[in-house]
Amino acid sequence: MVLFRVNTKESRETIQKFLEKTPSSLPILLDEKNKVGKLLGVWFHPTSYLVDTKGMLRYRAVGVAEWAGIEAVSIVDRLLGEKQ
């Protein structure tokens, strides 16, 4: 499983300043022109997506997601259990 954070419509400098205050071990992808946001139709931050090994969007969580919750864990487990 690979995790990325995608930042839309903000510059590298702004993100770097943010990371100085709030360090994160997750890689952050820059989407300065909101291309990915537009492709996925993001209208709320944060929105999380789970993409399977075939590149299909399988799950979307709008707002802050409880990734340690029963529902999220069962979805992730199910996706991890699927054959590649």
Binding site: K9, N34, K38, L39, G41, F44
Partner: protein, 184 residues
């Protein structure tokens, strides 16, 4: 007794007054076609296709409605009328869900800070009905065409109550002229 009677009847009189007065128009300046137009709306909602079964939020239904409309417009231009009619119908199904929850058009609908879109479900419904009416007329189904144009009127009026767009006014003018000419 007279005072009581007055107090009881006043609300009904006020309600009747609202119902019979002409629909108010947005008093904001006219939004030019260069800002609010079909191409701009379609372009904003390009991307991964929203399937009916996957749509969960109002925004998904709006996006789905616009995407179906985009396909319908292509078929309409190609004169593939029966396919266009089906796609316009699908688009309307999406928009009707939107309108259950947000019956308000806006040219500056905020998605998130710094990102606004054209959110015009009423206008797009009216535009769909205008075009499906034109197709039906082309198929010599005059009374069905007329019904479609009549159905478009409340949507375009609601749109113009929220946002006075040059696009909306053009649709309203065309609907009125088509309805007038189809009377003859």
């Amino acid at each position: 007794m007279t005072i009581w009677a007055f107090l009881i009847f006043l609300p009904f009189w006020m309600i009747q007054g609202c119902a019979t007065s002409p629909p108010p128009r947005a008093d904001s300046p006219l939004i030019p076609l260069a800002k609010a137009n079909l191409e701009a709306v379609l372009e904003e909602q390009e991307g991964l296709e929203i399937l009916w079964d996957n749509a969960k939020e109002v925004r998904d239904f709006y996006r789905g409605g616009v995407q179906q409309k985009s396909q319908a417009e292509n078929k309409y231009r190609e004169k593939s009328y029966s396919e266009a009619l089906k796609l316009y119908d699908k688009s309307e199904e999406f928009f009707l869900v939107v309108l259950k929850y947000i019956n308000h058009d806006s040219c500056e609908y905020m998605l998130f800070e710094g990102t606004h879109i054209l959110f015009l479900p009423n206008l797009l419904m009216a535009d769909n009905y205008l075009k499906t009416g034109r197709i039906l007329k082309e198929m010599s189904r005059d009374s069905s065409a007329r019904r479609k144009w009549k159905s478009a009127l409340p949507y375009i009026q609601q749109s113009l109550r929220c946002e006075r767009t040059e696009w909306g006014l053009a649709i309203e003018q065309e609907l009125n002229s088509l309805l007038e000419s189809s009377k003859r």
